[in-house]
Amino acid sequence: MAEPTQDGRKIGGTLLEVKNITLSFGGVKALTDISFDIKEGEIRAIIGPNGAGKSSMLNVISGFYHPQQGEVWFRGQKRASMRPYEVARQGIARTFQNIALFKGMSTLDNLMTGRITHMHKNLFWQAIWKGPAEREEIAHRERVEHIIDFLGIQAIRKTPVGRLPYGLQKRVELGRALAAEAKLLLLDEPMAGMNLEEKEDMCRFILDVNDEFGTTIALIEHDMGVVMDLSDRVVVLDYGKKLADGTPNEVRNDPAVIEAYLGVGH
């Protein structure tokens, strides 16, 4: 079991912190008074039964939902209410449970679009094309090719992603999030619907990303084996409330967690 820092990785200070987040849709409370933090360089898992509010939590962090109460602190600063594209520009990238790729565009174009927050030449230079804009394209293309190599998706570089099988689409989506070179990577069920081999690949990618680039990762996952193996710390949600928070071992032995997952009277 990989305890923090045991394998020589560096876990730094707090990167993101959510404080007392409460989110409701009309009368339905999706999240109630949730607080936890994500430390720099760690792999943080959010788990819980269906409808526990995991995805809602991720949507709050990435700016798709705006909580009624509570604060989000990123890199030591309290964040104002932000739109998703502003969050992305701050350095938070994400993937979706049900894949949100540009289906009509090629793998390469999808990844290049992921780099958009790093490309700064304005419309004027783009219209002229030769010169600065072209140099910028080439520089970013190099970074993208590196990611393509890393994920082993050279063969589908020019394929429209809508035509790819599900597992590969998930991989391209991860690639697009990687292309953003984000400080924080949010993965919403990166292994949902995958077969064993694909899951193993994805696990390896997540660990490698964390290891090689030092990217902080927060992920939602249902496969308990995967969660316990991958993550440094786990936060458990149930019915929009926080049940437990700690290392995989602590969480596994927490009576409240056992009850939520297995039911009372186990």
Partner: protein
Amino acid sequence: MSPELLNVLEVMLNGLLAGVMYSLVALGFVLIYKASGIFNYAQGVMALFAALTLVGFQTGQIPFAHVINTMFGTHVETWGPGVPTFLAIILTIGVMVLFAYLVERVVLKHMVNQAPIILFMTTIGLAYFMEGFGDLMWGADIKTMDVGLPSGASTWFETTTASWAAEGSNYPGMYVDMLDVSAAGIAILLVVVLTLFSQYTKTGRALRAVADDHQAALTVGISLRTIWVIVWSIAGCVALVAGIMWGAKSGVQFSLSLIALKALPVLILGGFTSIPGAIVGGLIIGVGEKLFEYSIGGMLGGATENWFAYGLALFFLMFRPQGLFGERIIERV
């Protein structure tokens, strides 16, 4: 070649050239529809407005001269001899970009996440507002547009084609209007530039990304509102080109805004979401209506060009409702 065959060729050639003009109008619709899912009814009026503005700059008209004269009892009309065509075009592009910005700021911003029908109604309102605003700004009289494009029959083409005919057939040669030819050339250039821009630049990629998936676009850090301003600006420039071409052909007047209606069958044929579709659709309608008029029109009492396109579109809807190049909607149940 026999004169009959040459006649048919001439009809088809003129059909193709007319079709390019239809494509140009349809292109403006497709751009906005792809990026925002809005069917922009105001596209035709945008062409009219752009043409009015261009002529206004060219002739040095004072905007709102009529209003000023009524309010202050003055008699001002122009502020000078006007600006050269090239500069006037640049200024008009500026006006269209400003217009796009205002549309986003004042109108679209409040319409996010509304049903398509509501967005459509909004653009109808926008169309009538612009029509009135254009009249108020530049006056309602019919203006002539002259941007220095060649016009009239091409004698070179006429003599060349005349020599194709069989000896002694007295074939006079084909008629082709130079204005149509230059319009087609400019339209092709415009499409090529737009395609290159959307394929090979950052903003082009962002435009395609937004057209593909709004949610995903937001996630990678694209501001939808910025993209909408850009798209409406491009649609404004396409409208300007359409306005110049149609304005040079038949004068800058209210009926110019009705060319939007001619784009509808083109869109039904080509599909609302496809740029190649808009072009091919335009060409098919152009050639189709000219050939129909030439071959069968006489038997039906002529003037079939008024309704042929709509008839063809209706026929098409029965077999391929998504258009030739449109995305087929397959839904899982």
